[in-house]
């Protein structure tokens, strides 16, 4: 079979780095190709070249065997290349159909929008994706997963033969992820090719016909469907065998540190949750997106006012109304969205690290930069933050290094209860292992840890106990020894004892 797309010997240089060094990529019609690699390996750059965002310095692109110059996003579209970005490019003040045909609306009398045709054409594409929605539905009423489908519909409406999906499942629930994977299989059977970028090796294994792995801007290798397995991909990605982290056996006799009693968040005012976190344990929080895990974390950290809550630390009731109160009590949150809540990306690493306890680095209200720099440099070294200097702006760091700066912020203080919300989202395999190790070290030093995660693998491998949430309630708390994927999923979808009895 002739390849649909061939990228040959593509090179791209940025100041100081060679982003791509003679990279090849081939896609056949109706093939799902996964593109894997650590952050900074060149996946996004390669896809941006294909999508017409960047121009390559060297190399050529062939579509249907003909050399093609892609100089702009519209060039890419006219060559049948559609791009579904990680951050959705939809306008939530418009309807579904208006989004799909934005800039290409069918017209009446040359100036008026033909709404009937607009909506019916949209519904055809939505149906192809197994989505039964009226085109006139306002986009804001859709879930993230449905909005993503709208983006895919938009690509299809442009007659895309290759759809690039960049981390499409990073904000989807498990069921939504399964749905998306089904849609991708359907697209494949309709002859559409998909280039699938993901950090989740499980999904790649499930869906990909082939995996192309990049490392440091070069082709690291390709695995065919039969050869795809977790260790194989990781080995190509990091160029060495990754030592699996061996968890120390957790002792059963840990003292309780924090007791959360009758916590009711504003999102689920009628669901009361109570649990305790012990010193030195990692309490995992599993559940579907929207189960109320982040809301609970934000209430405990004082950034979201709960309807009711009693929190006691070491048996003492504490009053937490603001993040300041939480921080004073040694409760720190590593938030889900590190770029908007975890860090101020426009300011240097140093200022980010010292911000929560700036008074410690000041006398008479004046900040001592030298004291700040000393701590910042120490923390960067301790956490192995890869940055030219502590004066580098946080925006210029990779996801993993940004997350380490968020951690450095709190570790420079005196944590007693650390709450991690999706600690490794969008972080590459190498940095992930480092973050797990840091978490484990913290626990070993007696810190109580809550870890919210939507990655089943992470929940199962890192938690000592697992609290599973369902629609604002804790559906069950499972000990590590009894935990299994099935059991957690059952609790997460709300099939409690009844389903278990049948099973």
């Amino acid at each position: 079979m002739e390849p649909l797309l061939e990228m040959r010997q593509i090179s791209k240089r940025f100041p100081g780095v060679i982003a791509l060094d003679h990279v090849d990529l081939t896609v056949f019609p109706g093939e799902v190709v996964a593109l894997a690699g650590e952050n900074g390996a060149g996946k996004s750059t390669l896809m941006k070249i294909l999508g017409g965002v960047y121009l390559p310095e060297d190399g050529a692109i062939f579509v249907d065997g003909n050399e093609t110059h892609i100089r702009s996003v519209s060039d890419a579209a006219s060559n049948g290349i559609g791009f579904v970005h990680q951050e959705l490019n939809v306008l939530d003040n418009l309807t579904v159909a208006e989004n799909v045909f934005l800039g290409r609306e069918p017209r009446q009398l040359g100036v008026l929008i033909d709404r009937k045709k607009l909506n019916s054409d949209t519904e055809i594409y939505l149906k192809r994706l197994g989505l039964d929605l009226p085109g006139r539905r306002p986009l804001r009423e859709l879930s993230i997963a449905q909005q993503q489908m709208v983006e895919i519909a938009k690509a299809l409406s442009l007659n895309a033969r290759i759809v690039i999906m960049d981390e499409p499942t990073s904000s989807l629930t498990l069921t939504e992820t399964d749905r998306l994977l089904e849609v991708i299989k359907d697209l494949r059977s309709q002859g559409v090719s998909v280039i699938y970028i993901s950090h989740r090796l499980g999904e790649i294994k499930q869906i990909a016909d082939r995996v192309i792995v990049l490392r440091d801007g070069k082709n690291a290798g390709t695995l065919d469907h039969d050869e795809i397995n977790h260790d194989g991909i990781v080995k190509l990605m990091v160029g060495r065998d990754l030592e699996r982290f061996q968890k120390p056996p957790s002792s059963d006799t840990k003292e309780t540190f924090a007791e959360i009693i009758d916590l009711r968040t504003r999102r689920y005012p009628s669901s009361s949750i109570s649990f305790d976190v012990r010193k030195g344990e990692i309490l995992g929080f599993a559940g579907l997106v929207g189960a109320g895990r982040s809301e609970a974390a934000q209430a405990i950290f004082g950034v979201d006012t709960p309807v009711s809550a009693r929190i006691s630390l070491d048996g003492q009731l504490v009053d937490i109304r603001t993040a300041r109160d939480a921080i004073k009590n040694g409760i720190y949150l590593v938030p889900e969205d590190r770029r908007t809540a975890g860090l101020i990306v426009e300011i240097p690493i140093r200022e980010n690290i010292t911000l929560p306890a700036l008074k410690r680095y000041s006398s008479n209200g004046l900040v001592s930069k030298s004291r700040e720099s000393k701590t910042a440099a120490e923390m960067c070294k301790k956490l192995n933050v890869k940055a030219p200097s502590p004066e580098t702006k946080a925006a210029n760091l990779s996801g993993g290094n940004q997350q380490k700066v968020v951690l450095a912020k709190w570790l420079s203080l005196d944590p007693k209860l650390m709450i991690f919300d999706e600690p490794t989202r969008g972080i590459d395999v190498g940095a992930k292992a480092e973050i797990y190790e840091l978490m484990r070290d913290l626990a070993a030093s007696g810190v109580a840890i809550m870890m919210i995660s939507s990655e089943m693998e992470e929940i199962l491998s890192e938690s000592d106990r697992i609290a599973v949430m369902h629609e604002g309630k804790i559906a069950g708390i499972v000990d590590r020894a009894d935990a299994s994927e099935e059991k957690i999923m059952q609790l997460a979808v709300g099939q409690s004892s009844g389903a278990e009895a049948r099973a």
Binding site: T322, A323, R324, A341, I344, E346, L355, P356, G365
Partner: protein, 317 residues
């Protein structure tokens, strides 16, 4: 720092050109008057700069000047209050108005533009009502000559408002660029959510910027009232908030918040005043006053934008 350098270069070029075209520019009397105006405008521009750094805006400053001028005249001329009491009262009032702005913005969560736009209308109307729409003045200033000399006098040839500005600038420079509070101000302006997640009470920080702005507007307003010596409630202080905003923006403050410096604001203020002086000295019809100012501000911002794009392009290549 680079941003300030560009505006500073523009200021120097403008001064040199002006001095060559009309040597009256470097006459002591002209320079003194220029310094006096820079003093008055600089003081409230710093306050506005602070507000802009938090990502906010204060449109009410000009109307506050009118209200303050009317009240000050009544306190001194009609009620014969001691000068110190009258000044403390009016500065206290403007500081309180700043607090009201801060409260409405941070607690009631109304957008700063709306809150202070309402202030702009409300205080102007109030001033006109209190004064029965008549011009208020200070006459011969009997009994408060010392106070008046703060606005109109000089110390060793340097106009006192300029000296006051220098003193305030030094204090505010330390506050903004060296203190914990200043760091919080920039942090909140950049990313309020992340600042809150770091334990900063962002509401208090933002509200305090409006309070400081109100206080500095009070100080500048007293000087301005004596500088003009008569307060016509319908026109006194008109557009002054815009001069302050323009000075802050020319000096490198971003209306998105989180950016700006005291030195920049001072350079921006000086630039605007020199421009005003230029219009007068070069015999340009005063009706073109605003047009010249608007054009130069646009050019300044445009040059900065082009410079930035070129730098960005260099990085991308």
């Amino acid at each position: 720092m680079r941003k300030e350098l560009g505006t500073f270069a523009l200021l120097v070029v403008l001064c040199v050109v002006l001095a060559i075209l009309n040597p009256v520019f470097i006459d002591a009397a002209n320079l003194q008057n220029l310094a006096r105006l820079i003093g008055i405008y600089g003081i409230f521009s710093i306050g506005l700069g602070l507000v802009i750094i938090t990502g906010g805006i204060d449109l009410s400053v000009g109307s506050v000047f009118a209200l303050l001028g009317v009240l000050l005249s009544i306190f001194l001329v009609e009620w014969h209050l001691p000068a110190a009491v009258a000044v403390l009262a009016v500065v206290g009032i403007t500081t309180f108005l700043g607090l009201v702005n801060g409260f409405l913005i941070t607690r009631v969560k109304i957008q700063p533009f709306i809150v202070t736009l309402c202030g702009l209308l409300f205080y102007r109307g109030l001033a006109r009502f209190i004064a029965s729409d008549e011009t208020k003045g200070f006459g011969a200033a009997s009994g408060f000559e010392t106070l008046q000399s703060l606005a109109t006098g000089s110390l060793f040839g340097v106009p006192t408002p300029f000296i006051i500005l220098v003193a305030i600038s030094i204090v505010m420079w330390v506050v903004l660029h060296r203190s914990v509070y200043g760091r919080y101000l920039f942090a909140v302006g950049r990313n309020e959510i992340a600042a809150r997640y770091s334990g900063i009470n962002s509401n208090v920080v933002i509200a305090s910027a409006y309070v400081v702005c109100g206080m500095l507007a009070g100080v500048a307003g007293v000087l301005l009232a004596f500088y003009t010596n008569s307060v016509s409630p319908s026109s006194h202080g008109n557009f002054y908030e815009l001069y302050g905003i323009a000075a802050a923006v020319l000096g490198g403050c971003s209306l998105r918040g989180g950016e700006g410096s005291i030195v920049g604001i001072l350079i921006g203020t000086a630039l605007l005043q020199v421009l005003q002086n230029l219009v007068n000295l070069l015999g340009i019809p005063s009706s073109l006053n605003f047009a010249v100012m608007g054009a130069v501000i646009l050019l300044g911002v445009l040059a900065d934008q082009l410079l930035r794009q070129r730098q960005a392009a260099q990085i991308a290549r």
